[in-house]
Amino acid sequence: MLELKDITYQVEENNETKTIIDHLDLSIGDGKFIVITGPNGGGKSTLAKLIMGVRPVSSGSMIFDGEDITKLNITDRAKLGISFAFQQPVHFKGIKVLDLLRLATGTNISVNKACDYLSKVGLCAKEYIDREVNSSLSGGELKRIEIATVLARGTKFSIFDEPEAGIDIWSFQNLIQVFENIRKTVQGTVLIISHQERILNIADEIIVIEDGKVSKHGSKEDILPELLGTASAVNISCSKISN
């Protein structure tokens, strides 16, 4: 169970305080499959970074399985069982895909085991296992490897920031299956940030984040029809521009 209590995140920009996450309250139950959506710039990635500890909250607190993690650093949160697949995967000179998967599992997993994780994200493992995680890989390939590192960790709370971005439509269905599998095998919570209807469709709960606040939170059955109807995410951002 993850509880966010009155979380605010502010940055200083040109001597002005900009509020990116604004007194946000949220409670995420165990074993849930949750999709966060909302307009571009609404604060979804920022919220994910606050949960992972990549950014410090300006105020408020976070409780994970009863433990206050507000002041913990990234490493400690990772060790407690939080994982995060970045929206923009990171490049490393000289670190190979196999190395990264070994670091993710924390053990010297066999090449075969590492290949399993790559196959799960639709990469023909043999071709990739010895490649460096650098800019010679395509955007979609990097994205899949990023997802594989989180699968390899198999922690109880996994966050994926727009995992479908850059993934071709042939692999998309498999990807959805991958997420359903994690949920079954790890019995953990999967939190996906996405704009894709097909991902929204497999959620237990949908959360809409807008202007740094939770504007909607409920079961898929309640929220999805609303989003696809008049108040769709697309319309929200359009109305923002016209304001």
Binding site: M52, K93, E132, T149
Partner: protein, 306 residues
């Protein structure tokens, strides 16, 4: 025979756990410790200077020469001249390297002057590793000079590594390439503490279609200092590329000085240099996999210098 410290040094600089196969010449504390020659590779002690001449016959294929140097006495200072005369149509690996263990208070210094005369169509892989250890106050100093003279269509691939324990180094590498010749250099360097390392390259592309690629990856920690200077001269239709990629940490100081000198409209010369600290997002990613900041740093540097 070699003692245990010397054997340990050999392992560090030449990955040698026992006597190597093929030709070799092992120099320990300023003297010849062991030598082997083969039908195609002869090693002869120089008469005018300390050092050896290595003769590799035309057409020698898939053979190797190991010429490691180990120093385990404090206060040894030597300049050694090693010349390699490589015939035509050869394919040979040469492994050099110097390991110094200095537990004393006097400086130990090895300056190796290596000259390579590479025959037509020959392919050479040259691996050189420098390593220092020991708790003494005496410095461990290495000043290698490498000269390469490449005949038509020859190919030289040099891999030079200095990761640990050398206090002071001034490396000079000079090459002249004839038509169709190629020289590739990979240099990896790490300095820490008060260490100083300077590396100066000068590659002359003299023959049509000659090409070179000089790639340096380095990490400077603590108060160490590195200077990387590379000059490529294009005298004809040729391709030259130099790349210096450095990670700077703590209070280190890194200088990268490129010099491209084109004397022909068809000389294509490129230099890229980048100096910067470890990228924050790389640290964040590895920490999110459960590594501490120090562990993440170690992985990033280890990969970078691989």
């Amino acid at each position: 025979m070699l003692d245990n410290i010397q054997k340990q040094l050999l392992k560090e600089v030449a990955d040698l756990y026992s006597m190597p196969k093929g030709a070799y010449n092992i120099r320990a504390n300023g003297e010849k410790a062991a030598r082997n020659t083969t039908e195609n590779i002869d090693i002869v002690t120089k008469t005018d200077n300390p050092g050896i001449d290595v003769y590799i016959k035309d057409g020698t294929q898939n053979e190797s020469v190991h010429i490691p140097v180990v120093i385990s006495e404090s206060g040894i200072k030597e300049v050694v001249y090693n010349d390699f005369y490589i015939g035509e149509n050869c394919n040979v690996t040469i492994v050099a390297g110097c390991g110094i263990n200095n537990c004393g208070s006097q400086d130990s210094q090895h300056d190796g002057v290596h000259r390579f005369f590479v025959g037509k169509n020959s392919k050479i892989r040259y691996v050189e590793k420098h390593y220092g250890e020991g708790t003494g106050t005496g410095k461990r100093i290495l000043n290698p000079v490498t000269e390469v003279y490449q005949k038509e269509n020859s190919y030289v691939d040099m891999d030079m590594v200095q990761i640990k324990g050398v206090d002071d180094t001034y490396r000079t590498t000079k090459a002249e390439l004839a038509a169709g010749a190629t020289m590739i250099v990979h240099e990896r360097l790490m300095t820490h503490g008060q260490q100083k390392a300077t590396s100066v390259y000068s590659v002359e592309l003299n023959g049509d279609g000659s090409s070179t690629d000089v790639i340096s990856r380095s990490v400077a920690k603590d108060d160490s200092e590195q200077i990387f200077e590379v000059a490529i001269v294009g005298n004809t239709i040729c391709n030259g590329h130099a790349e210096c990629d450095a990670i700077i940490m703590d209070n280190a100081h890194i200088v990268a000085i490129p010099r491209l000198d084109a004397k022909n409209v068809d000389a294509a010369l490129i230099h890229e240099a980048a100096i910067g600290k470890i990228a924050g997002d790389q640290l964040i990613k590895l920490m999110s996999l459960g590594l501490t900041e120090a562990e993440a740093e170690e992985q990033i540097i280890g990969g970078f210098l691989r």
